[in-house]
């Protein structure tokens, strides 16, 4: 930390930090529906949005919330909704429409256990849903996974920029631990996205001194939708090339690589230190963008690695992307589902069993 420079650090939960980041990012419309474990975020927005003279609506359902966000996005303002797993399933209709109509919006998922109503414990079992489109149709949503309250806030800022730049919905995929955990958060969030954002001349603001604008995802006629899908496909390629994001810890000389994201990466971080004390050369690779998957970063750190252990709060979802990225490496998996958490001792045990 720089000396003589006052840094504002506030003790807040990940949920609240993400809310404050949305305020700082200029979110003008927020709508949400109660669901645990993200209720603090909706409550935070209810207070702060009104304090800022911006729009907050407690929606009658997740469906209504995401479609209100669709309307807000169509007018060109920055907009966000948040929920947790079962609620995100309901929002998939709207997310698909946002992607089809090329509207920017930020959706936060503070994951809980599933399937079905599941439970309210931390989980990472929405990885497939988040990284493979989620709703109907041929589309992807950039997905950012924070490992701390402060990073959650930073990624919300980035999510707004990515959404505007690519005209696409962007997910911030936190888990219950990240949402609920309280830690000191530096509120001077910095923008890391440097590309220039274009004016939203497509937005619905009234057809004054310009032809009428329409926001649609219905594309009838001979090959019209096909061409639209190819245009979207080019966008996915561009995002895949430009927006991979990851972090590494002690990977320079690592022989054993742990791959984990979100709160699970935080636990794996601890496991790396334990293993290093035991003279085992372990390292951590932490994907931050889950889609696009940080293939380039993973290939780079995996070069000198003998064995890889993927750790998730699920029965194994991200592990498929690791295996697809590194088909020639020995990849094993450690996971717990339904709110179970692989602790540092479990990770250490799994590495040592397979030395």
């Amino acid at each position: 930390m720089e000396k003589n420079k006052k840094v504002t650090r506030v003790l807040m939960s990940g949920n609240e930090a993400m809310g404050e980041a949305a305020i700082k990012a200029g979110c003008k419309f927020y709508s949400g529906y109660p669901i645990t474990p993200q209720n603090e975020l909706t409550a935070y927005m209810a207070k702060r949005m009104r304090e800022e003279g911006r729009a907050f609506v407690q929606a009658e359902s997740e469906l209504a919330a995401i479609n209100m966000v669709f309307g807000a996005a169509a007018t060109g303002v920055r907009t966000m909704t948040s929920s947790s797993s079962p609620g995100i399933s309901l929002k998939q209709e709207g997310i698909s429409y946002l992607a089809g109509a090329q509207l920017p919006a930020v959706i936060i998922n503070v994951m809980r256990g599933g399937p079905g109503l599941g439970n309210i414990d931390s989980s990472q079992s929405d990885y497939f849903q988040s990284t493979r489109g989620g709703g109907h149709g041929d589309y992807f949503t950039p997905t950012l996974a924070p490992w701390s309250a402060e990073e959650a806030a930073q990624l919300v800022i980035l999510a707004f920029d990515l959404a505007d730049y690519y005209r696409n919905p962007v997910l911030v995929l936190a888990d219950a631990i990240i949402g609920q955990m309280m830690e000191p958060v530096n509120l001077s969030f910095k923008r890391v996205f440097k590309k220039k954002l274009l004016e939203k001349n497509w937005a619905l603001t009234g057809a004054k001194k310009r032809p009428a604008n329409t926001v649609v995802s219905l594309l009838l006629g001979d090959r019209v939708l096909e061409k639209h899908n190819y245009r979207l496909g080019k966008k996915w390629d561009k995002i895949k090339n430009n927006e991979q994001k990851s972090a590494s810890y002690k990977t320079e000389d690592a022989k054993y690589l742990i791959v984990a994201y979100g709160s699970q990466a935080r636990i794996a971080f601890e496991a790396v230190d334990i293993l290093r004390k035991q003279k085992i050369k372990a390292g951590l690779f932490r994907p931050i963008s889950l889609w696009p998957y940080p293939e380039k970063g993973l290939r780079e750190v995996a070069k000198g690695v003998k064995k890889i252990l993927v750790v998730e709060q699920s029965l194994g979802q991200m592990v498929e992307d690791v295996r697809a990225t590194l088909p020639l490496k020995q990849v094993s998996f450690l996971g717990k589902a339904g709110g179970g958490i692989p602790w540092a001792k479990d990770i250490v045990g799994a590495i040592k069993k397979n030395l």
Binding site: K28, F29, S31, A55, V57, A59, E60, S61, L63, A64, A65, N67, M68, V69, F70, G71, A72, A73, A74, T75, V77, T79, E93, G94, Y97, A101, L204, T205, G206, A207, K208, K209, A212, N213, T214, V215, V216, S217, L218, L220
Partner: protein, 245 residues
């Protein structure tokens, strides 16, 4: 007064995909005319539904958003709250507004959102080929009520959305008219105009329900359809002002 001969500026000079005798053409025109007369063309944002009017943005010459089936009033809420200075309206059918979107309808009205809603009631799902709608009258044959809507089969009774919304404090204006004859068209025009003026005056939620013919699905000629509205629909859905605060 309706200018019968000059098309409104807000209506594009194109053919529509609507069937002969359908009410949508008249209603598109009335909405466009009101928007012109109130000088709203450059500040209005419309929401086209899922249903026969899904392509309304091809016919209106002002900003229009699509909405997922039933979600028009949620989309409208997002637009109006983000840009309160815009005049925002939805144009929805009975399947959209009264069935899949009934939660959005009820809660948008109950919040007292300052919006205008045009509710086109033709007692059936038109675009999907004529299934039972919540507004289908008892005895009316549809593809999913092949012997006629029958409460004894568990089909339920016609849902009267305007009457359902009337007690809500957030609702300012509820009227029902029909476009099956010239007097009805003129009345509908007056109602639509009032519903937009209410929004300009920030009076809250206004809805104009319009009984509208669907000859193709009803398997009737346009003339028979116009009569069927008088003989069958109006009995179930009486015309007039239901609420005007």
């Amino acid at each position: 007064m309706i200018n019968e001969f000059s098309p409104p500026e807000s209506l594009r000079d194109v053919s529509t995909h609507y069937c002969a005798g359908c009410g949508h053409g008249i209603l598109h025109r009335l909405v466009a005319q009101v928007i012109d007369e109130l000088g709203l063309r450059e500040s209005v944002v419309g929401i086209a539904p899922v249903g026969c009017a899904v392509l309304a943005y091809n016919y209106w010459d002002f900003d229009v958003s699509e909405a997922a089936h039933g979600r028009a009033l949620a989309v409208a809420t997002g637009i109006k709250r983000s840009r309160p200075e815009k005049i925002v309206f939805t144009y929805q059918g009975d399947g959209d507004l009264a069935s899949i979107g009934i939660a959005e309808t009820l809660h948008t009205a109950n919040r007292g959102e300052n919006l205008t809603c045009i509710f086109v009631n033709n007692a059936c799902y038109g675009m999907t080929g004529g299934q039972m709608a919540p507004t289908t009258v008892v005895g009316q044959k549809t593809t999913t009520t092949p012997w006629g809507r029958n409460p004894a089969f568990g089909d339920g009774w016609p849902l009267k959305v305007s009457e359902l919304l009337a007690p809500l404090k957030g609702v300012n204006y509820l009227v029902r008219s029909s476009v099956n004859k010239p007097q009805g068209v003129k009345q509908t025009y007056q109602y639509i105009k009032k519903a937009f003026i209410n929004q300009i005056e920030k009076k809250g939620f206004s809805m104009v329900e319009v009984l509208s013919p669907c000859p193709t699905i009803w398997k009737k000629t346009p003339i028979e359809s116009a009569r069927w509205i008088d003989e069958e629909m109006i009995k179930e859905f009486p015309l007039g002002v239901i609420k005007d605060k």
